[in-house]
């Protein structure tokens, strides 16, 4: 890549110093503060750092971090990749990621949904991947129809290649603002936010994976990539067995998007899969930790669609611990608990903990799911006999558990 202007070089270097200091003083991984310092010194830094790289942006309600990791892991076979692996997904995090790998010819950035239009406009990324949109932390997140509209306008204004999930009607509507879309049939498990046509508000008729508006011409675009069970079928019709080490249908969907994305960078599925299969856990998700003879598998679920995905991965024969908080990053409003169908847990030992355990307790009581309330995560673990245990937690509850176990990957 070409040489950065002197001011940008300085801003980038000072940002990295701030990040190092932040890490050294135990304040976190430093990616946000480093980026902030850089942007303060050179507001145009993100554009300059992104220029002359082959850049993909990844956005969705769920699966951003994992898909970013899958794409980065595959692209490393082509060369060095700059990426925000720690989930710092706003411009400061992007600056930090690009600045710490300043010679990397490739970059993959996870982008917060609200920031996608701004980051796309600034970076002019060559590729944008969009997986899904669903209700999420309504007290602070954007309303999703509005968000889809902003995506649509931003994409219409760029020449970017869009890799989009055609099975999610809101995503399909947002992506179809662009004239260059590679459609991926990656599936859609959570459908409660897409019963109505995003174009005209009419009812969407669904038949299997297909959908079409009853009142206007908007319908599911024809995919060129298809996720079919354990396999992905590429645009030439060739079938590839995924054999991921990450579990669950949601991760197979993420992998299908990742394969379509890296194909745009010239990487064939056969090679790409070697990279995808190296990913075993993402920021502690899906990892197993040990304590007193108990093996706890940690699953993160931040919103109703995420809980459906976690239930898909959880083993029905095992006891399960559920932990829910409502701090800022979780959303302070626990209403979403009522959108999750917990009845699937009937018949398993269910332990309930977290700062908002009473909200979850009432939710389970009304759903007719027997449970035991525990004052702490440690108590919940101790109540269960040695053996395997699944754990589902929302964001800060998940971080608390990871901290307790020393953040082991």
């Amino acid at each position: 890549m070409s040489q950065l202007p002197l001011r940008a070089q300085l801003a980038s270097a000072l940002g990295r110093t701030a990040a190092t200091l932040s890490r050294a003083t135990g304040r976190g991984d430093g990616s946000v503060i480093g980026g902030r310092v850089g942007l303060m010194l050179e507001p145009d830094l993100l554009r300059q750092l992104a220029a002359d790289r082959r850049l993909a942006l990844v956005s969705a309600t769920n699966g951003k971090t994992t898909t970013t990791r899958l794409i980065a892991s595959a692209l490393r076979q082509l060369g060095e990749v700059a990426t925000n692996a720690f989930g710092a997904n706003m411009p400061a995090g992007h600056v930090s990621a690009l600045s710490s790998a300043k010679d990397a010819p490739y970059a993959v950035l996870e982008v917060d949904e609200k920031y996608l239009p701004e980051v796309l406009d600034t970076t002019r990324a060559g590729v944008v991947c969009l997986m899904n949109l669903s209700r999420d932390q309504m007290d602070r997140a954007a309303e999703i129809w509005l968000l889809a509209q902003k995506w649509r306008r931003a994409l219409a204004a760029q020449q970017t290649l869009v890799i989009a999930n055609c099975d999610d009607p809101l995503v399909a509507w947002a992506a179809s603002g662009s004239s260059r879309v590679s459609w991926v049939a990656a599936g859609q498990r959570w459908r409660e936010d897409s019963w109505c046509c995003p174009e005209c508000g009419g009812p969407l008729d669904r038949k299997g994976a297909d959908w079409a508006c009853r009142e206007c011409a908007f319908r599911r675009p024809t995919p060129s990539w298809v996720l079919d069970g354990e396999d992905v079928i590429d645009p030439r019709g060739q079938r590839w067995r995924l054999d991921l080490r990450l579990p669950g249908q949601a991760n197979r969907a993420n992998a299908a998007i990742a394969l379509a994305t890296v194909a745009a960078f010239g990487l064939e599925p056969g090679h790409a899969l070697l990279g995808l299969r190296e990913v075993t856990s993402v920021a502690g998700r899906y990892t197993t930790v040990e304590r007193d003879g108990r093996s706890l598998r940690l699953l993160l679920a931040k919103n109703p669609a995420g809980w459906l995905e976690a239930f898909d991965v959880a083993d029905p024969s095992l006891p399960i611990i559920l932990s829910v908080n409502a701090q800022g990053p979780d959303g302070r409003d626990t209403s979403w608990l009522w959108d999750v169908d917990y009845r699937i847990l009937r018949g398993r030992p269910v332990l309930v903990t977290g700062e908002r355990r009473r909200d979850l307790a009432l939710r389970l009581y009304v759903a007719g799911v027997p449970f035991q309330l525990c004052d702490s995560f440690g108590q919940a673990v101790a109540v269960l006999p040695p053996g395997r245990i699944d754990v589902i937690a929302n964001y800060t509850a998940f971080q608390q558990i990871r901290t307790e176990f020393g953040r082991a990957e």
């Binding site: 309504m138 019963w195 109505c196 009812p203 409003d333 209403s335 608990l337 009522w338 009432l362 009304v366």
Partner: protein, 235 residues
């Protein structure tokens, strides 16, 4: 009085943004716990609203679905006929605003409501987001309301309705009151699963339909209420 309850959930495809299903589930659970049989109908916005229901529920939504919902309810007329017949209605957040004469659209433009409550709403200056607690009109015999609000609406009550409650914490209608009621129609800004934290309000809707109710095990409801009220009300 009947031992069978017909619940009608209006337009979950448009107006069910965040946990609105909770109100349906709580009413079902509290009715069944008293040996009442419950039949629930989910009415999509492309379908007519049945007129023979006992309790109608309508939830919250974004601006565009709210406008679509109001248009379809007005054209359909089923909810008007049900309320005129004496059915009970709980309207939440965007659904509450729809019940009035007018509410604010995406750009703040006035949009016609369906006129089931004597209220008018407009878009306020800033979004009210957070916990809400309010003392309920003593005539209703319901203890302190607790819940979460998330809206930009300011609602003015006309002489045809009474305030549901007076706020202790939170914004509500914007004038120190929260929600309103008239006859068996209740409107509130407590969004999503408002009845989960206010089981007495659920029982009020049920009692309007079937008469006096036997007490039931309220442990989990009360534990959540106590925690939330203690967390938000100072002192």
């Amino acid at each position: 009085m009947t031992s069978h309850i017909r619940l009608v959930w209006i337009y979950p495809d448009l107006l069910s943004t965040y946990g609105d299903q909770g109100n349906v589930l709580v009413l079902e659970q509290r009715a069944r716990a008293r040996g009442l049989s419950v039949e629930t109908v989910h009415v999509r916005s492309s379908d007519p609203v049945p007129e023979q229901g006992d309790i109608y529920l309508i939830g919250g939504g974004e601006d565009r679905p709210q406008i679509l919902g109001a248009e379809r309810l007005r054209k359909d007329g089923g909810l008007h006929r049900a309320v005129a017949r004496g059915a009970a209605l709980l309207a939440v957040c965007a659904g509450y605003q729809i019940m009035g004469s007018v509410f604010g659209g995406e750009e703040g433009q006035p949009v016609s409501g369906i006129g089931l409550l004597d209220i008018s709403s407009a878009r306020g200056e800033r979004r009210a987001v957070g916990e809400l607690a309010a003392e309920v009109d003593p005539a209703l015999g319901v203890p302190t309301l607790t819940g979460f609000e998330n809206h930009m609406g300011v609602t003015r009550l006309g002489p045809g309705v009474r305030p549901l409650s007076r706020t202790i914490i939170g914004t509500g209608n914007g004038d120190g009151t929260e929600g309103c009621y008239a006859g068996k129609v209740i409107g509130t800004y407590l969004h999503g699963p408002a009845l989960a934290r206010n089981p007495a309000l659920a029982d009020l809707l049920l009692a309007w339909t079937v008469g006096p109710l036997a007490p039931i095990d309220d442990t989990w409801y009360q534990r959540l209420r106590e925690e939330r009220l203690a967390a938000v009300i100072p002192g």
